[in-house]
Point group: C2
Chain length 353, copies 2
Amino acid sequence: MIDKILIPLASDFHIHTRQDALMEMVVPRIIEGGVSLCYVMPNLTPPITTTEQALAYRAQLQSLAPNVTFLMSLYLSSELTPEEIKKAKSQGIVGVKSYPRGVTTNSDSGIENYEIYYPVFRAMEEVGMILNLHGEIPSDPEKDICVLNAEEKFLVHLRQLHQDFPKLKIVLEHATTKASVEMVKSLGDTVGCTITIHHLQLIVDDWAGKCHNFCKPVAKFPHDRQALRDIILEGHPRFFLGTDSAPHPAHLKECAQSCAGVFTTPLALPYLATTLDSFGAIDKLRGFACENGKKFYGIKDDESKSHHEITLVKQKLSVPEFYSFGKFSETRQSFVVPFWAGKDLTWKIETRV
Amino acid sequence: MIDKILIPLASDFHIHTRQDALMEMVVPRIIEGGVSLCYVMPNLTPPITTTEQALAYRAQLQSLAPNVTFLMSLYLSSELTPEEIKKAKSQGIVGVKSYPRGVTTNSDSGIENYEIYYPVFRAMEEVGMILNLHGEIPSDPEKDICVLNAEEKFLVHLRQLHQDFPKLKIVLEHATTKASVEMVKSLGDTVGCTITIHHLQLIVDDWAGKCHNFCKPVAKFPHDRQALRDIILEGHPRFFLGTDSAPHPAHLKECAQSCAGVFTTPLALPYLATTLDSFGAIDKLRGFACENGKKFYGIKDDESKSHHEITLVKQKLSVPEFYSFGKFSETRQSFVVPFWAGKDLTWKIETRV
């Protein structure tokens, strides 16, 4: 039985670091969770659409966590030009994130019109930037499309993009279905896939009426969760950790219309080790969380700060009921409820960084 | 275009009338919603398992709503005997409700063991009592069973029960799937089915992160909703209204783990007319809400108080944001948020009863 692991600090290829008081709480906790490199989502208010915005935001993050490497992305929108792509690349921006809504901005038929972005994708392919896809199409009851099959129905677009841009590195973000795992496996080496910690744990029952487990894409059937676990057990090199950790204050979760997102940043590696161990994949932690993603993104070790090592041990660790931030009049506005609040994990970080 | 309907007061064959202060708010609103006959669920605290309990509860309800006919049911459990069935029938109790949990109480394998209740079902068949089924099997990730397919996986049990007790009247409650509609249609005249108002409106997207639309069974795919609408358009006589109206105080909905249930009682007919009209079935309202259920249950008009007529008109009606009840220290403990709170309905009751 493995009860101790020495690994490099991990990489999280999908994280929401937020703004203002919430950012100030979240960002210092990245390294606490055992992560020293992260790929930052651009969906701020307003979204990060220019190189300048991305660099300014990175400076903020860096000052809050000097020991973490922040890889930045731009938000795909109709304003993004091939020229901006070249500029972004020259300034060290790593990729471009596509959200379903961003795609629908310029067409009634939604994601079908990826083609209007083809000049941008071509520039990205040329300069070597990553395309990150939120892989869902908009719900449409007339076509029997809802949150349960929105990801699966997206996959034809992933395949088409890969066919049209075989050298463009594309990441299908936060895969939740067996169909996605099979599609990514079937495609070439330029297509990767992130998997969150919570999607390795949740099925639809777990977010039915339980707002803190509600996220997008929603967790699906048990056989889908099994497919995510199986691809990690297989040690497939194009699947890697992207937590999609997405904190919201409690009053925006425990209400009539909850924000989507699960918060895992402060305990990322303890959650992940506990999860992988539960299905016999603890020996896959290093590849999944420390190696595969960096290899796919082409990140050399001297570019990141993740050459430090940490020790994980199989010991009980209680997840806090909440993390406080800011100063607000109402209590629930001032804290974030983390994933598995109040429950016990079976792994913890022994040496704090 | 139909913009006015004269119909008898309706029947609701599945209602939760609760206890104490909540009951005192809910029960007088039954007739306000245009309903004068209802079939009352026995899942109180403690559950109604004896004739005495049912009669005592009916007396409470009757005193709060003298103009409503309350049909009572018992909670299926291992304590229920064939003798109690005969006694219940002689005292006017109408049926027995089976919940999944009630079934699992006495067996590890859950609903498979309906056979332990066969002596009770035989007595019910003899004396002419109704068996009401909450048609879901317990989730079991190992077998890929979750809230999304728990109803469909139950249907073999419905078919088996009908085969073994062909003269026993069985109602599959609150059907949510195409599979259920097809199964009920395929079975004999002794098998009926209730459909709620909210399941005619909701799909899975509508309860994802929206606690006031969260109910059990959960609303499913658009094609499932369409099947429920289609069977009403067809005017099938064995499908009828059972609202499953299930009020909870707001603080038990807007929280980390929401109670399941949608509250529709105070505006039952305005909701239903608005809903049916939206898919071209307003002419089916009378059959679905006033006739089919009574016919299936074998209720003669002189047994009920539903021979009064009311007029529905196609006019705007705003759903209240909440209904207050009781006196509690915290505000959210003192109100129930109804279905579609704050939205506009397109039909209202013209003549209040």
